[in-house]
């Protein structure tokens, strides 16, 4: 306990004593975490945007002429229960006739010649905004088609697919970058602490010569790493917050367009918590690693 207290005091003193290198270390940690934060933020926002956009995915199925109403009702019920489906509307042959006559009023009188509407009945499905939507939708579509009551269909999946693809691309890039960033930041902090150890080589050597234990020397470095990680992540959080507060007006200034089209999302509190845990963790982990390597005896 006393060792821990001493080590924290020593670590704080050391941070203050070697201001520049620690400032730099802090800067690098913050920077790394900042990039991570920005990326998380971007992908969160893109998720929201694409979710918003994918709301309008809908499919229209035209039924065959001779289909039993019961069968259709059964299908409608089944589709309604599907979790992906926002809602389904059924358009009877009658409704279709009315729609047609509204569209082409000049032709209205022709329709009166039929005793039954010449138009097919149809159903319109609106899907919920969902992640891997297009593959999931395809499976529903397949199922419906298998029933052999569908004459033709009309679906605006093409566009939705494109947006999905972009979203996927960004997500993958984000994941990819995050893993690189994690390694890079561990590498950098590891080396900064190694540098710090090297920088204080003489001091460490002297301390050992007068009888300091290995733990007495190691501990402050480890605590220092954790503290640097903690401070670095707090700094990253503050900067991120500032930047994201600033960003919309910047975006507005450059393009004066985004506003209104994209409602820039509030930064999630969980992101800050994640940053702090990640920063402290990386700091602790890399300093442990570094001292293990460079303060062997």
């Amino acid at each position: 306990m006393n060792l821990l207290k001493n080590a924290i005091i020593n670590a704080t003193k050391n941070i203050l004593r070697n201001k520049l290198i620690n400032l730099l270390c802090l800067g690098i940690i913050s920077f790394t975490l900042l990039i991570y934060g920005i990326f998380t933020y971007i992908s969160t926002n893109l998720n929201i945007i694409t979710k918003e956009f994918s709301k309008s995915i809908e499919a229209i199925f035209y039924f065959k002429d001779n289909v039993d109403i019961q069968e259709i009702e059964h299908l409608l019920e089944k589709i309604r229960q599907n979790l992906l489906v926002e809602h389904v509307t059924f358009n009877s042959k009658k409704q279709a006739e009315i729609n047609f006559s509204q569209q082409f009023p000049e032709l209205k009188y022709i329709l009166s010649e039929f005793n039954e509407s010449p138009f097919p009945s149809s159903m319109e499905i609106r899907f919920k905004p969902e992640y891997d939507l297009d593959t999931k939708i395809n499976s529903i579509l397949d199922e419906i088609e298998k029933m052999n009551i569908i004459d033709s269909k009309q679906i605006n999946l093409e566009w939705a697919k494109k947006i999905m693809t972009i979203k996927k691309f960004i997500t993958i890039v984000g994941l990819f970058l995050s893993s690189i960033l994690l390694f890079v930041s561990i590498f950098i902090i590891y080396n900064v602490i190694k540098l710090n150890i090297l920088y204080r080589k003489d001091e460490i050597h002297i301390l050992k010569l007068v009888g300091a234990t290995n733990w007495y020397i190691k501990f402050p470095f480890i605590i220092e790493g954790a503290l640097l990680g903690l401070f670095g992540s707090i700094m990253a959080g503050i900067i991120l917050y500032g930047l994201l507060k600033l960003f919309p007006s910047y975006a507005n200034f450059i393009f004066n367009l985004i506003k209104g089209v994209i409602t820039v999302e509030v930064i999630p509190a969980s992101l800050f918590i994640r940053l702090i845990i990640l920063g402290t963790g990386i700091g602790l982990f890399s300093s442990l690693f570094s001292t293990q390597h460079f303060l062997k005896n």
Binding site: N6, D202, E203, I206, L209, T213
Partner: protein, 225 residues
């Protein structure tokens, strides 16, 4: 008790910094180690506190072969030895007071006893008025005296001093040696490397002379007279 058995040290192949040294130092002895520049004095001292390891031979302290002390236990050996390094080895970013306090701090000594001990060590070498300076801001001789204060502050069983008066004038040197003599009278072993023939003349002690890594003479003043 410190014993050297056929100890050799080569930093570079075929160049003996120490060559087949046999030596026995009793507890409570006061020893001058002398020899010209590059003779191996510092090397011999470094072997005692394991800053260097012998290429050959065994060194025993209180019948313990120090070769066999694992790195983890080394601090115990080091805490029992107070060292004045030839190049002082002060911590450049800490004050004189902190520098002298280091051996006590690392043992977790309480602040009040620590302050008292540091104060008395600094006043022995006449440096209480410099306690808040950093080493860079005091003179060469003052730095040397800080190193001496640090060596004696922790009540070690052995004191090793490598050229402790190289930057001090004769009067101060004699004063420091008198302090060492007083400490020695409490049963502390003293090993002092020095070039200063004057000091050796004034203080009639056992003198070990090295030349090119070999122990060429080992006698006490009394014997010679």
């Amino acid at each position: 008790m410190i014993e050297f058995y056929h100890v050799s040290k080569q930093y570079v192949k075929n160049q003996f910094a120490l060559n087949d040294i046999n030596l026995s130092i009793e507890k409570g002895e006061f020893i001058f180690l002398t020899g010209s520049s590059g003779a191996g004095k510092t090397t011999l001292l470094k072997l005692i506190f394991k800053e260097q390891h012998p290429t050959k031979g065994q060194i025993l302290i209180d019948s313990v072969n120090i070769n066999l002390i694992p790195n983890k236990k080394l601090y115990k050996l080091r805490r029992s030895i107070g060292i004045v390094f030839q190049d002082f080895k002060l911590l450049s970013k800490r004050t004189i007071h902190e520098n002298v306090a280091i051996p006590l701090i690392i043992r977790g000594e309480r602040k009040s006893t620590l302050d008292k001990q540091v104060h008395s060590a600094l006043s022995l070498v006449g440096l209480t008025h410099r306690r808040n300076y950093i080493p860079e801001h005091v003179s060469g001789g003052e730095q040397q005296r800080v190193a001496i204060a640090r060596a004696i502050v922790g009540n070690p069983k052995i004191i090793i001093a490598d050229e402790p008066t190289g930057n001090l004038d004769t009067e101060l040197s004699i004063e420091i040696l008198k302090i060492f003599e007083r400490i020695n009278s409490n049963g502390i072993t003293m090993i002092i490397a020095t070039h200063d023939k004057n000091l050796i003349k004034i203080f009639p002690k056992r003198v070990i002379r090295l030349e090119k890594g070999r122990l060429i003479s080992d006698w006490s003043k009394e014997e010679l007279l």
